[in-house]
Symmetry: C2
Subunit: 365 residues, 2 copies
C-alpha cells in the first residue's frame, strides 16, 4: 500500500490524497459503502462500480460466522468471492462482538460470545481475528479492539483502552501477510487524556494506518468534533486516517475538515431502504404522498441510473408496494450522492476552497 498526499487545505486540516492497494487507487477523502455480508445490500458489484466507490468495508465478524472465513479463503478470497476487484477493508469484529452479542464474556485474552446464527459458543481474540482477516484477504485489515457503549465511566474507558492497546500489539505480532495493511483503532470514548494516550501508544507501534473508533455511538456531532480536534493532530501525517462508522454528510465533512481520509457508513443504504433519499437540496422522504405523481427524478443534479431513468412517483410506487427494485434504486442513488459529495470535497481541497464548498453544500441540506 502507498499513501500519497496531493493537497492540503490552508484554512483547515483537510487533505486530499490517494491510497494505492493491490486492487487499485482510492482517492481520499473517500467514502466506503458497507458490504457487511460480502454484498452491499441490494446492489450488484456492477451497479456499485457505477457509483464510483473505490473501496468497500466488509465485516470479518459476519463472514467468520457465515459462510466462514475458511470457506471464503477456499473460494479465492473476498475479492473473488463477491466479485469486487477494487479495494476492500475488513473490520475486525470488535464493534460487532460488543454491540450485537449477548452473553459476552470479555477477558484480557479475548471475547467469548454466542453466535446469533446457531447459538454456538464462539471465541475471538487478536490472533484469531488476524487469522480470519488473513483468510478473507482484504487489502486493509483492522486490529481487534474493545468497543464500549456511550456514555461510559472514565475508569472503565481507561481500562478498556489499555486492553485495546495490548490487543493492537498482539495483532501487530500476529500479522504475517505482506499483501495486507494493518490499521490500529484509537479508542477512549470522549475523554481527552485517554484518547491522547491511546493515540500516542498506537502511533509508537507504527501501524500502516490509524482508525478512530468508538465515535458515532450516540455522543453527537459536537463531542465527535471535540475528539477529532485533539486526536487527529497526534496521528502521523503520512498515514491514512479512518473515521469508522461515520456518518451523515455533516459528520463526514466535519471529519474531512479535521484531516480524516476514510469513512464508512450504512446510512446511504439503510436510510435508502427506509425511504430516505439524500439530494443536493436536502433529504426527501420518498414515501410521502406529495410525490405520488411527481415526474421529477429524486435529484435533478444526480446522474445515477435511478435519477436518469425513473420518476419520484415510480420509486415511491415501488417502495409503497414493497418492491425490492425500490430498495435498490434508493441505495444506488444514495451511494452516488455520498460518492459525489466526496468527489466535490476532494476537488475543493485541491482548489483551496474546502470551507466554501462545505458551507454551501450543507446550507442546502
Amino acid at each position: 500500500m502507498q499513501f500519497r498526499l496531493l493537497a492540503s487545505d490552508n484554512k483547515t486540516k483537510a487533505r486530499c490524497g490517494e491510497i494505492t492497494t493491490n486492487h487499485g487507487l482510492i482517492p481520499t477523502p473517500a467514502f466506503m459503502p458497507v458490504g457487511t455480508q460480502a454484498t452491499v445490500k441490494t446492489l450488484t458489484p456492477l451497479q456499485l462500480q457505477e457509483t464510483e466507490a473505490h473501496a468497500l468495508l466488509c465485516n470479518a465478524y459476519h463472514l467468520y460466522l457465515r459462510p466462514g472465513h475458511e470457506v471464503v479463503k477456499k473460494l479465492g478470497g473476498l475479492h473473488k468471492f463477491m466479485k469486487w476487484d477494487r479495494s476492500i477493508i475488513t473490520d475486525s469484529g470488535g464493534y460487532q462482538v460488543f454491540s450485537l452479542e449477548r452473553l459476552t464474556k470479555v477477558t484480557d485474552d479475548g471475547v467469548e460470545f454466542q453466535s446469533p446464527i446457531d447459538g454456538s459458543r464462539r471465541f475471538l481474540n487478536p490472533e484469531i481475528v488476524m487469522d480470519i482477516q488473513h483468510a478473507l484477504g482484504a487489502d486493509i485489515i483492522m486490529a481487534f479492539d474493545e468497543c464500549l457503549p456511550y456514555p461510559c465511566e472514565k475508569d472503565r474507558v481507561r481500562q478498556s483502552m489499555y486492553r485495546t492497546v495490548k490487543w493492537a500489539n498482539r495483532c501487530l505480532k500476529a500479522h504475517n501477510s505482506d499483501d495486507q495493511e494493518l490499521f490500529a483503532i484509537v479508542q477512549g470514548s470522549v475523554f481527552k487524556d485517554i484518547r491522547e494516550e491511546c493515540t500516542d501508544r498506537l502511533v509508537e507501534m507504527e501501524f500502516n494506518g490509524y482508525a478512530i473508533g468508538g465515535l458515532s455511538v450516540g455522543e453527537g456531532n459536537l463531542l465527535m468534533n471535540e475528539v477529532l480536534e485533539y486526536t487527529t493532530p497526534r496521528l502521523p501525517e503520512n498515514k491514512p486516517r479512518y473515521l469508522m462508522g461515520v456518518g451523515f454528510p455533516l459528520d463526514i465533512l466535519d471529519g474531512i475538515e479535521h484531516g480524516i481520509d476514510l469513512f464508512d457508513c450504512v446510512i446511504p443504504t439503510r436510510n435508502g431502504r427506509n425511504g430516505c433519499a439524500f439530494t443536493s437540496n436536502g433529504k426527501l422522504k420518498i414515501r410521502n404522498s406529495c410525490y405520488k405523481t411527481d415526474e421529477r427524478p429524486i435529484d435533478k443534479n444526480c446522474h445515477c441510473y435511478a435519477c436518469k431513468n425513473f420518476s419520484r412517483a415510480y420509486i415511491r410506487h415501488l417502495l409503497t408496494s414493497n418492491e425490492i427494485l425500490g430498495l435498490s434504486l434508493m441505495s444506488l442513488h444514495n451511494i452516488c450522492f455520498f460518492e459525489n459529495m466526496m468527489k466535490k470535497a476532494r476537488q475543493s481541497i485541491i482548489e483551496g476552497n474546502f470551507l466554501n464548498f462545505k458551507s454551501k453544500f450543507l446550507s442546502l441540506q
Copy 2:
C-alpha cells in the same frame, strides 16, 4: 400490431413467428416475465433487457389498485413509468379478482370486491377494465373474463363461459384505442364442448389475438394438454395465441407443440427467490449445503451476469444470509434460462427439429 408466421413444424403444430408492436418485435414463441406491479421483482429494466425478454406481462388489477391507472397515465403510461421500451401486455384483472379477493360479488354486470390495500369496496366490469387498460397503455390488452377455480361443476362452468363471452363482447365495443390490440380469453375449464363453444364464439367476434385462460390452476399437465389439443386448432392461424400463466419448461414446450405463441409465468422469478435455479441439467436448490464451497456457476452453459460472475457458493451464501442480491441473481438467471429455452425452441422450429430439441431438453431436466 402485425403477426407474421415464419415457420411451422411438420410433425407438430409448433410455429415460429414475430409480433410487431409499437414497441418493437416479439419473436414467437415467446416467454414473458411477469411485472405484476410495474416491476419484474428484484430486477432493473436494464438487467431485464439483458435476459433478451422482448415483452412483459403487467397486471391491470394491481396497477388499478396502486398507484392507480390515472396516476400511471399522468406519468406518461406504463412504458415510461417503469422505463421499459419493449412490448407490454396487461392482464385484465379477471384472474386476480377471482383468485385473490374475498367478499367478491359477481353479477352479469361485473364484480364487486374489497381492495386488499385499503379495504375499500371496488367495482370492475368490462367497460371499466378497458378504461384502466387504455390508461395504462400496454401494447396488448386483455378482455375481462371470469376465472373459475379448479375443479368446478360443469353447469357452473357453462354459465360462467357465457358470461365471459358476453363480457368479451362488451370489451370489444368499449375498445377505442388504435394503439392497443385486444385479445380475448377462452375459458371453459377442462370441458371439451364448453371450451369449443367459447372458442368459436370468441373467434366469430374477431379479436386481434386469443388467449387460453383457466389453465395451470391445478388440473395438471395431462389435462392441460388435452384442452390445448382440442382448443388451439379452432383458433385462427393468422393470429397470436397466448397460454396464460404457464408455466414450467415441460408445460411451455407442450404448449409450443400445440401451436401456442405466447406464455407468461412467475415461476422463474418466484422459484428463483425461493432458491430454485433452473439449469440445463435440471433444477438446483441453491440453499443445499452441498453447494457451500461449490466454485462453479449456477449453470456452466449460461451466459447471464449471475453465471458469468458468481459461484454457487456465493449465491448460496447470499440466500442463506437473506441478502437481496441473492434474489436478484437467481431471478436474473432463471429468466435467462427461460428466454434461452425459447430461443432454442424457435431455432429448432425453423430448422425442422422441434421434437428432437424438446425431448433432448426435457431429458436433462
